[in-house]
Amino acid sequence: MLKGHLDLIVLAALAAGPAHGYAIIEEIKRKSGQAFDLPEGTIYPALHRLEQAGFLSSRWTTAESGRKRRVYALTRPGRRALTERRAVWERFSDAIGGLLEGSPCKKPA
């Protein structure tokens, strides 16, 4: 189930500001209340794909430890994509909520 929403999850995790892979994973775990405990390595192909799509930019920095670190940030198209996908998700969530509760949702999905 997570797989289809990984892009939205990663974009949302970067909404607060630039971060490196490990920090993104930690942010996802923290914000989801540890619900999304995905294999950590799967974040990197997703970051690469989102960067290729122009939704993320990245650059090398040097961590305090002296190691080279790749830091990712949302681009303008990335912020737009996050807004759009969030709206789609909210409509979908409302619709499912309406179905499960037996009351019609507020907005058409």
């Binding site: 490196h20 490990y22 294999p39 390595g41 799967t42 430890s65």
Partner: protein
């Protein structure tokens, strides 16, 4: 020390599976090492060796991660090949048309005694070029039909193999077409004294040869790089 080597070994293992894209392989290796050391540092309560093992285990299976990168790379190569074939066909067409327009403008006629040969070579040229165009468009159509990114490395591999086949056919047809153009140009130049008039035919031929050369080089480099993704299919 041996435990610390586990992180480097894991990063090396994953990077080794990304041989199809050396730059990506180097990048991923550094990112993975940084990630794993961060994960180890975040678990100070555990023993160092245990923390390393746990970090590697949580990172996931190297083959599964490499497969995801390979899928992205294969889709990207498909697009690159499609665009290159069409750009080269367009470039060859412009060069051809420019040369023919120059012959007309400068009223540069073929010698009577080579017209029969020129007609035959011209027919081969035209058929080969149109074959390249038709196959090139077939490749584009396939790209459009397969536009949604494949869900796995197997599907992406199969799709790229088909686009590669079409690209090879298109490149082979273009080689025949450009060779025919070369013969036609030589027939025309052979009957004339060397002059500045030669410049346009020579430049246009150079453009055609360079275009086909670039296409063959790119197709071949994708075939060579695909050896790494083929190895991933067997794991």
């Amino acid at each position: 020390m041996q435990e610390a080597g586990m992180i480097a070994a894991y990063a090396e293992l994953l990077a080794g599976k990304l041989g199809f894209d050396p730059a990506l392989s180097r990048r991923v290796r550094q990112e993975v090492e940084d990630h794993l050391w961060e994960a180890v540092a975040a678990e100070p309560s555990e023993g160092h060796g245990k923390a390393i093992q746990r970090a590697i285990s949580k990172f996931g299976n190297a083959d599964a991660i490499a497969n995801q990168f390979a899928t992205l790379w294969l889709v990207e190569q498909m697009k690159k090949l499609g665009v290159t074939v069409m750009l080269v066909i367009g470039g060859v067409l412009v060069a051809m048309k420019a040369r023919v327009a120059w012959y007309a403008l400068s009223q540069w006629e073929l010698d009577e005694d080579v017209r029969a040969v020129a007609w035959l070579v011209g027919a081969i040229d035209a058929y080969a070029f149109w074959l390249a165009v038709i196959v090139g468009f077939a490749g584009w159509a396939y790209l459009i039909v397969r536009r949604p990114a494949p869900t796995g490395v197997y599907a992406a591999h199969r799709n790229l193999q088909r686009v590669l086949l079409l690209s090879w056919i298109s490149a082979a047809a273009l080689i025949v077409s450009v060779t025919s153009d070369g013969v036609l140009t030589a027939l025309r130049l052979a009957g004339s004294a060397v002059s500045a008039q030669f410049l346009i035919p020579m430049i246009s031929m150079a453009v055609e040869i360079a275009g086909v050369g670039i296409l063959v080089f790119i197709v071949r480099s994708v075939v060579v790089a695909m050896a790494s993704t083929t190895a991933l299919l067997k794991t």
